[in-house]
Symmetry: none
Subunit: 400 residues, 2 copies
């Protein structure tokens, strides 16, 4: 019996509502003296902490720095050591490509082939605008056969994502990339009998690309790597019987949320957009994931003051959130992004939870050091979902 089995058995549909506000990468370090959260003026966040129970959470385990994929999976109640997302899927999500359960995706390069040999694996790093033109041309002229839908999505320079949509496509395919120049292009080889159909479709695509692009001076062939399928992962509906919504601006988070069965409510880049969307969709869902990106991007850039400003910019919106009277409100982060480290880190996330059934502890400010003294103690982020569901009275008793 594991958490997922418990969740399936014990979760129950109710009308109670949960809001999970993720201030991406908000945890930081004193550098020196005060951390970003300690330096920020944020009266509304602190007021929430004062009526909450607080704690700190480790995304994967102590000492492990997670990417955005594993750290978000954990927050949504999925074991980040059990579910791993393939490179192709992450590339697709990061590029804003929608990926569904019948999709096979791969990272692509445009390349130059001459005399049957790959002479440039990156097609001379064609400009990004060239790439967009070529992808548009392919999407217009690639023959669609046998009900298989194929689309390409431009990335930077010579990079793109290829997406094949059909029933029963396996991702057990070796890379269709000779890796070295001076060799002939390599077809996608099936790694097992179940991948025969996928190999055939991919290789026909590679031929079609060469045919459509034969007059191009540089980008006249495609190489494909990291074939990945939509991971076999239960939806939040299946596991938790919630009707979840994701309110986010960046493709990666929207894509991940969609993978887990959330309805994605895309918004613009203004902070107000998040709260407008939340208010508008309030009646339609009972679990809301709201993603605030700027605390992470400023941390990644190593800009302490900008990260402080990002915290202060969010703070005035919190009363709008509280006014909706969610039954459970959690404010936390997926992982820490101390600006002095200019990247994700292994430090635990400050965490606050407000609910009628939660009581209150002595923590009165939302900072790393204060939350570490909170009543929730230190826990793994995968416990956030059972906690939220419990406080929303969405979990029944285990055993008699």
């Amino acid at each position: 019996m594991e958490w997922e089995d418990l969740a399936r058995d014990l979760s129950t549909e109710t009308s109670s509502k949960i809001v999970l506000l993720v201030m991406d990468g908000v945890g930081g370090l004193p550098a020196p003296g005060k951390s970003e959260l300690e330096a920020a003026r944020k009266p509304n966040l602190d007021a929430l902490a004062a009526k909450a129970v607080c704690g700190v959470s480790d995304p994967v385990m102590m000492g492990i720095t997670p990417g955005s994929g594993p750290s978000h999976l954990a927050l949504f109640g999925y074991d980040p050591l059990k579910y791993q997302l393939g490179r192709g899927i992450l590339e697709a999500l990061g590029s804003g490509v929608e990926v569904g359960r019948n999709d096979l995706v791969a990272r692509g390069n445009f390349a130059t082939v001459k005399g049957g040999l790959v002479v440039d694996r990156r097609a001379g790093r064609i400009p990004t605008e060239e790439n967009a033109r070529i992808c548009a041309r392919l999407n217009e002229h690639l023959p669609q056969r046998d009900g298989v839908e194929v689309r390409v999505f431009p990335g930077k320079e010579h990079r793109f994502v290829a997406r094949f949509t059909a029933e029963g496509l396996s991702d057990a395919l070796a890379d269709a990339d000779p890796q070295k120049e001076g060799k002939p292009p390599l077809p996608a080889a099936p790694l097992g009998p179940e991948a025969g159909k996928a190999a055939e479709i991919v290789n026909r695509f590679l031929g079609d690309v060469a045919a459509v692009l034969q007059a191009e001076p540089k980008a006249n062939a495609a190489l494909l790597r990291g074939f990945s399928k939509f991971p076999s992962i239960p939806t939040m509906q299946e596991l938790f019987k919630v009707r979840p919504a994701a309110i986010a601006n960046y493709p990666m988070y929207k894509g991940l949320a969609k993978l887990l069965g959330m309805e994605v409510i895309g918004v613009g880049g203004e902070t107000a957009d998040l709260f407008d969307a939340l208010e508008k969709s309030w009646a339609d869902h009972d679990f809301f994931y709201v993603h605030y990106k700027r605390t992470d991007s400023t941390g990644e850039d190593g800009k302490f003051e900008a990260k402080v400003a990002a915290i202060e910019a969010l703070d005035p919106f919190l009363p709008r959130l509280a006014a909706l009277k969610p039954d459970v409100l959690v404010v936390t982060s997926d992982h820490s992004t101390p600006s002095c480290l200019k990247g994700h880190s292994w430090h635990p996330n400050p965490f606050l939870l407000v609910a009628d059934t939660a009581g209150v502890d002595d923590v009165a400010v939302f900072t790393e050091r204060a939350c570490a003294k909170g009543m929730l103690g230190r826990f793994r982020s995968i416990s956030a979902m059972p906690l939220m569901l419990a406080h929303a009275l969405k979990l029944q008793k285990y055993g008699a």
Copy 2:
């Protein structure tokens, strides 16, 4: 290597004594302002906390509300996600039916059969006294065959527990219950070849019941569901090399303790009875589980003041406990039962441990919020047993 293996390898017999006092369901919630423990006047409990190390424990995992079975298993050092107790066993334990390692038990209904069909699955909900009379008659007149002992135990109205005692009985049996009226009674079908003997014995019993009860106007047949064996679970002696005793009043806790190999010392419903029994049996055991029920039943009833009174009623007895000078004394709960929720909850248990080897932390009152700041931090209840054994110097070093 898991905890159970470590326990077997490292535990050692000593003369030191452990007392585990379970104030069932004592953890609560501020409703509002103060929790039950915060509102109660309990100088002796607080004095213990002041010389203890404290913490809070999650019975199963954060967010999970446990029944009494899983939450007690955890306190006794058994993984509550590994060992699950069947419904038949719990029904038997809850009814005060003793269950041993060769027993197969099932939940029964008396039913009315006419013309070969079940016409009433509940025999018109016969009065409980009727049920007692019928069970007595069956126990007197049922033929005992081939060294198989069969007994029935009356429950409320038409419900009873059937117990079959013989070597090698499997519980892989489908319910002997057509579920619907208007159908013929259903014999118990074996779900695997190992259950052939059990099916034969159960079906012979069903025939015998019909024969003995043929003149009864309503209860003239039996239906059986939820066949369960004594779970295959190592005893506390095997795992921990202790000589354990359970001092309890309610059948469920006595039954569970017996399952784990404890000597059960049944007591009356007065609080003093617990301490009388403890003093009397002090020389004979080295692990004492003392179960105080009233904090849970008042919580279940939603009676805040009565739960406060239950805490205050226990407090004056604690000096008698300390006077015995146990080497390790733990006071905690199996799960929380906040009176505002009128039932078990997922909130962690306050926990205090007094031992010469434990030191003392800053916690000076026994409440949820105070214990959450204790030196033991937040841990899963399954760690209570290793902690108690360690402080009693009953665990040797792991590795060289």
